[in-house]
């Protein structure tokens, strides 16, 4: 509401608008003092290094200054977009991060709701602490565990065979079509506990009086979860969703690299691995930078769209 008063005072002429802004700001010295040093910080540490984007237009060589570089225009972008492999890895990236987004959000929210319903405090705390342990193991270790479990003689095949669900062991990582599913489950296993933390924090801000009122009305457990806990978590959920939609081209790197192999490469190779192979491993920083710029553009598109959608739906938004 306050914001509107600021806007109302704005007149049509730019000059007086500026004067109005200065006038408002002069009343907000403390807020400025509390935020502008950080603005300076972000410009220095995040915006200045953006000069590095010029590398995308060069055949970049280290230790040459900007004017000694060979400028090649859009060649790196042309290579990227004309490479048939690029579209395959783009598909894989989008699908995998889509799966991660849906599964990651869904499982973390459900787990937070279920944890919140546990009656015994110590049990709840123990489960919570243990569930986030896999977050602390490196992907190398995690991938090793997954590979061992999915081996022909690994636990997954043994159990499925005991239950007579399959007759022959399945070479899970050797069948490309299964890769996305395996990756999705692996990501959930590794990160669900960790992802829950933020929702549990959100639940603490829900007013307990609401639960008491609901109990009075005879609401069931599920009804309370659905009508009180979940709406209480909603602002955080929406914000995370918007932010993560901006990361739609970041489907992770290590997991795909470690679990990928010749047999599933058509499903496992994503944009980051492609850039590693054709950019970094060939010392082609230009290509890597061009790919980074492409990712940023896509990120912004998704971010802005998601934010506008949230705005239109009257949900909390990013900015």
């Amino acid at each position: 509401m306050e914001k509107q008063t600021v806007q109302i005072t704005q007149s049509t002429s730019g000059d007086s608008r500026l004067r109005a802004l200065i006038k408002t700001l002069s009343k907000q010295k403390m807020l400025m003092l509390m935020s502008l040093p950080f603005l300076l910080w972000v410009i220095i540490f995040k915006y200045i290094p953006l000069w590095g984007w010029t590398i995308a237009f060069q055949k970049f060589r280290l230790a040459r200054d900007l004017f000694d570089q060979t400028w090649i225009g859009l060649e790196n972008f042309r290579f990227l977009f004309s490479e048939p492999q690029f579209y395959l890895v783009l598909r894989n990236t989008l699908v995998m991060s889509g799966i991660n987004l849906v599964l990651g959000f869904g499982t973390a929210i459900v787990l937070a709701l279920l944890l919140n319903e546990l009656r015994r405090m110590y049990f709840k705390r123990t489960v919570q602490t243990i569930s986030y342990l896999p977050h602390f193991i490196s992907w190398v270790v995690a991938a090793n565990i997954v590979q061992t479990a999915l081996a022909p003689e690994g636990i997954v095949n043994v159990m499925l065979m005991r239950m007579s669900l399959i007759e022959q062991p399945i070479l899970w990582l050797g069948i490309g079509e299964y890769f996305w599913g395996i990756l999705g489950v692996t990501e959930v296993w590794k990160n669900v506990g960790w992802n829950t933390i933020i929702y549990l924090a959100a639940i603490t801000s829900i007013d307990p009086a609401q639960y008491e009122a609901a109990e009075m009305d005879g609401a069931s457990r599920l009804q309370r979860m659905w009508h009180i806990t979940l709406p209480g978590m909603k602002p955080v959920i929406v914000l995370l969703l918007i932010m993560n939609l901006g990361h739609i081209l970041e489907s992770g790197f290590e997991a795909q690299y470690l679990l990928g192999n010749g047999m599933n490469v058509e499903y496992s190779e994503n944009l980051d691995i492609f850039v590693l192979k054709y950019g970094m491993q060939m010392n082609n920083f230009g290509l890597a930078t061009a790919a980074g710029m492409f990712k940023t553009v896509v990120s912004f598109m998704f971010l802005i769209a998601a934010n506008n959608l949230a705005k239109r739906m009257g949900e909390s938004r990013l900015y």
């Binding site: 200045i48 230790a63 900007l66 090793n144 081996a151 192999n261 010749g262 058509e266 491993q281 010392n283």
Partner: protein, 559 residues
Amino acid sequence: MRKKQWLTSGLAVLTAATVLLAGCSNDSGGNTPQTGGTNGEVSTDPVTFTYFGFGNNKDVLASDTTIGKILQEQTGVDWQIEFVVGDASTKSGVMIAGGDYPDVISPVGELPKLLDAGAFIPLNDLIEEHGPNIKRVYGDYMDKITHEDGNIYILPYTANVNGYLSDPDAMSTFWIQRRVLKEFGYPEVKTLDQYFDLIEQYEAKYPTVDGRDTIGFLTFAGTAGEFFTITNQPMHLAGYPNDGNVLVDLDTHEANLYMGTDYEKQWLAALNKMNSKGLVDPETFTANKDQYLAKLTSGRVLGYVNYAWQIGDATNNLKAAGNDDLRYVSLPITFDENTTDAYIDPPSFVNNRGLGITVNAEDPVRIIKYWDNLLTDENQKLVMWGQEGETYSVNEEGRMVMSEEQLANRNDNEFKRQYGWMYFDYEWPRYGDNSVYEDGNAHRVFNQPEVAAVNYTEGDKVLLEAYGAETFSDFFADPIERPWYPAWSIEKEQGSPEQLFGQRSGDLQQKYYPRLVFAKEAEFETVWNEYIAEFNKLDSAGFEAFVTKRVKERVDGKW
């Protein structure tokens, strides 16, 4: 506004930094270092230089090791030795960008980048003035160590002196479990067909080991970084040494890819046939290194293919377990009975690995003198053998020998670190591994037949005797001189069509090999044709022309 100012000042600063850096490298180009002057005047005041290696090792202060201490006493020079942690390419990138070089660098794979950035000073004049021993050791290789601009930037590690002595324990890539040979009375196994046939016969006789299924054959192809293990084999089977992805004709020096040839087809068809008999491990293309090593040490595997250095942990484990029947031996396998195998590396000179002095070194003369001092017979014995009476002894015939205990120390990583072998026996200016001392002893400890013999177990001796061999190298044909060898060390320019070809062809193989091996026998031909159709889209002729040109240049003495 502020943002823009920051941007411009940032750019200005950057420009200044890079100009400064370029200036530095220009300055030091060619002119003789200020310190030192003539030979005698170089001081032996204590000084510590910095050494950075792009290999993996533990950081150390040289004088904390026995060898480093002895060398310090001789020269007054100590080294703070550091190695890369994490990604080498990233490290070299920031090193170059910041111009933060140590005094000397062993760049391993980062050489092209560092050279391009002008990180190294030319050594020509320094060697001329202060390096009599360097001249003695590298004299024959001058054309190979001199770069296109006429300068020498690094001193490689493979300059053999006083003749050429090959490893008595050379190995091939085709390994078979010893009990298989024993079972069939130590038959002669020369061809791929014989090799696979033997595995098949044994498997039929003993389908299980300790209640678990025997694994007929497997190879290390489950991780992208090791995929060359399976793709390199047609080259070896055709009787060629490891030239990377090409076969170089001995007479015409034409380099031809073997990808997409009948050699490759024959190899894959053989694997396909083995697979249809159930003898290829289904995890061949999915197992990671731990899983692969676990299989090799389980005793269930009858035959496998890889280079020995890929699986040192597994072979040590098997040797320590003490059951020689479950250990493996490598054989001189080729496609054809009449093909001479080329598993023993020909005399070679790797000119893109070496040690160089950077533009940041304040006293290159001291460094070059240290190196020169390192290159005496005495000090070369020190860095390879240690001290007489302590780590080795000399018998009455004047041969250098090691007792079992001394050999155990020479093999023990912890001891090697303390003593300094871990730091001084390779990445310094040195005699090549196949060198011989003036007195006829081998430079490399394990090239000395007397030492190799101490290393043999009872089972080794039985096996060698059965084949009438003295050493494992006797299994293989003598190497043939190949003046370009190895072709894999030919540098490909960044982002060049050749580099791109290498990546694309590798991707294609990674995708099609599993299909070809696991295809039903009847479908093999179809999948192969599909593979060839994809392969034909790549510019293989251009790649071959490039390698051929470089090979011919090398043959003509222009490395």
